[in-house]
Symmetry: C4
Subunit: 277 residues, 4 copies
């Protein structure tokens, strides 16, 4: 039984190291993890450069397997020390964690070079794991809150942009000849998006006078319309920063941002305890 | 006479299904309509891709006629169940509804392949019909309100941009040789719009030193000037969001947004009834 | 002497028609003037298109001379009816008015086709005359006020951008080979402006790996830095719209915008009379 | 001893001229310095244009040496008259000042033409010296304050952009063929940055249908995401402008911006003396 307590203690210790960032060991673990992720992603990237692959390919492979084994250990420890492992495994980050290590093992089973490429690149999804750490940064919470607040308005905006882009894509498809690149409506809509968002590759561009006049209209629209998402987000963020929001971790569900007057967490109903009050 | 009452009941039922979104049947109708519009527009789009047209052309035609007949029935039912059909027929959405079905019938009368293309693409205007549903979304109302408020200022802004673009277009026409693409003043103005809006296709770009210096000026201007529409819209939206506006449907004309202190609808004079007060 | 009084009356009537927009005749004059300017500028533009010049060249010339004579009459009437003609002649709009008519007369004196082109295009400066009418639009006053308020900050911003662009231009000149288009520092700075302002022609673009890495940095900077002018203008416009400004024409100098608590005009010291108070 | 006092007086006089801008002599010195820096930087720039170098190369060299000697004298005087010379020498501007003059002397020691180029261009770093004068401009202080306030949020934003760009770069690397320019993951990430920031060179652009669809997604994201830095900076600047900040130079450390209610400098603890109170 002492054995069991000891093990449960170990589990809790590991849990605090891995899932909390406010202890020295937890911080060290987070930094090591970020470094590991970044180096491993960099390895995958550089391996895709032909010249480097030919010269350092073997080294990249060694690095890759080292990281894969380390991340596998980390993944197993996470499952071991968390209270509800099933919930973790099927959460977004649980799946990302699995995808981060699976490709290397799969590459042993599927030897075809074609699949090999896709599988290898899947490992880049590891960068997503870094986002997990962002939730410790209070500024990220504020930004996410403002983005969530403006989500509905941004959706309406995107919808209108899609309608606009479809109409203008079709108009250009009728006006411009296929020789200028407007070979089908989907491609013309692609052009409309390239133009409205002011990206402007120039791979497809209008040649006729009427086409250029309409393109000019689309550009001016895009130039003015960009005001809409900017305005939406700025207005919401101003509200958030003006202090309608207080930052206090819910003791149960860890939700970080609450309405200023909130006494109970709006997500789980737990009473909020603010240090200052 | 019982017959007549029955018919009038049917009309009202249909009216509620088609024109209101807050009953289960009305919601189902709206969703079916959106799905129908999107699939039918997608059909027109994919049909414009040569490879797909050759392979699935017949299927696209069948789909097209199915949707045309469904939309025709819907159009007739709308006319049947609305109180003032003439007003609907000549309203913006009435015309869009008609244009959405007319092209297919016209294509039977005009067999020439040239016109056929234009006529077919007109059917894409159906996407406009989706916007009709946007008015149910309260967020869209807020956005439209802010856009309407800033309309005058945006017009002044566009006017100034047009003057600027004309002047810079002419300057570049004088400075740059026609070989660089500045063959006429309208085309040079087109270049100025492409540059000021930061689209930058690169199909026309200055080659001389002086031309590049002036182009750099236009770019920096465009980079700074974009602040103006953004600033206008953000300031107006902030005002709207700050709560100078209340959202309550006028019982008569359905106007959704009113001044905070408004007691009567500013559009039709009807008294406003707010649920909360 | 009756003659003299009559003439003075005529002068005043003409003055009100030409310089004020709030009488029916004054409004009609303004609309006719805008139409005249737009058509005459359009004539100059279309005349620059080779195909149109060859076909309709004579008609364009007739139109041009008609407008030149009309604008000459207007110019002389302006000088005649204004109180201080010298001040008008040397004001910005007085010079623009003169430049609008001079080129046509000059073209009679200088027959060389080379100069002819430049001289002809100078007539496009007429579009500036439209801006004069903008001052009647109260919204334009608000915008100009906000722009004037943020002028100093925008200058500081442009200064920093120029320093940034110079540094990055030089770095790219060192890194990239002249074959990629980076033939001199001024041209490399031109590239840096094209990239930082997110225009992105693509006529000069980095080919080496290091060059692309630095270009990516410049792009991300440009993407973030655009927040600065936008933020400046939005903040200033918000202040203006929030009502720190009242709109009342000074009876002496016609300055339209004053501080909310202003009792005397800050420009000429005249007492302000507000209709409402 | 009189000699010593005299010398100390000279030192103080020079110190005021060089480091303060609010005396007539100090202002004159600043203007002369800006003019000198701008002309000397312009010389380096123009010298990089081949045609100009061949024609005026000798003149540029004379100008360069004149400025180098003047800046050397200025550098030595600065060291002479400042209280703590070591601190100045190793400060950011001290190093910039040294780099501004060193290259010319180094070019005498290292005669190789290859290094010569790099060394010559280092002199452009002189433009940084202009920024030193910006701190006298109160508007620059306000802007810097707002930027510093939003620093953390902008960092979070950039981090998310980097993750996004990595993912999309990898997706495009898998989808598009190397013939379209997507030869390696780093290059594909470069494309993703070019597209997301709406620069859009067009040197690498997707050719396949799927690639264009994903590119359209990246563009629309970039179009909406630009709202984030803009919103952050606007919200912070609004706070600063709304008057939460007072501008008063700390008598000890010269920090210019303080919280409105601040009585002591937050940087050095010195009591703040406001002229108005």
């Amino acid at each position: 039984m002492a054995e069991e307590i000891k093990r449960s203690r170990l589990r809790q210790k590991l849990y605090i190291i891995i899932f909390h960032a406010n202890t020295p060991l937890g911080k060290a673990f987070d930094i090591a993890l970020i470094a590991g992720i970044l180096i491993s992603v960099l390895t995958v990237m550089l391996d895709s450069v032909k010249a480097l692959h030919e010269q350092y390919g073997n080294w990249f492979m060694v690095a890759e397997w080292t990281f894969t084994i380390l991340f596998t250990i980390e993944y197993l420890v996470r499952i071991y020390c968390i209270e509800r492992p099933i919930r973790y495994i099927f959460s977004f980050y649980g799946i990302v964690d699995l995808i981060s290590i699976l490709p290397s093992y799969l590459s042993l089973l599927i030897p075809g070079s074609q699949y090999w490429l896709v599988v290898r690149i899947l490992r880049v999804l590891r960068v997503f794991r870094i986002l997990r750490l962002a939730r410790y940064v209070s500024q990220a919470n504020l930004l996410m809150h403002a983005i969530r607040q403006s989500r509905q308005k941004i959706t309406v905006f995107f919808f209108s942009v899609m309608v606009l882009v479809t109409i203008f894509g079709c108009i250009m498809y009728m006006i411009e000849s296929p020789q200028s690149g407007y070979t089908s409506i989907p491609r013309s809509i692609y052009w409309a998006i390239v133009t409205l968002t002011t990206v402007g590759y120039g791979d497809i561009s209008p040649q006729s006078d009427l086409g250029q006049a309409i393109a000019a209209m689309v550009m001016l629209m895009g130039y003015a319309i960009i005001a809409v998402p900017t305005g939406i987000f700025t207005a919401e963020l101003s509200n958030v920063l003006r202090g309608d929001i207080k930052q206090v971790d819910c003791p149960q569900c860890k939700k970080a941002l609450h309405d200023k007057e909130a006494v109970y967490c709006s997500q789980c109903g737990e009473e909020l305890v603010t240090a200052s009050s």
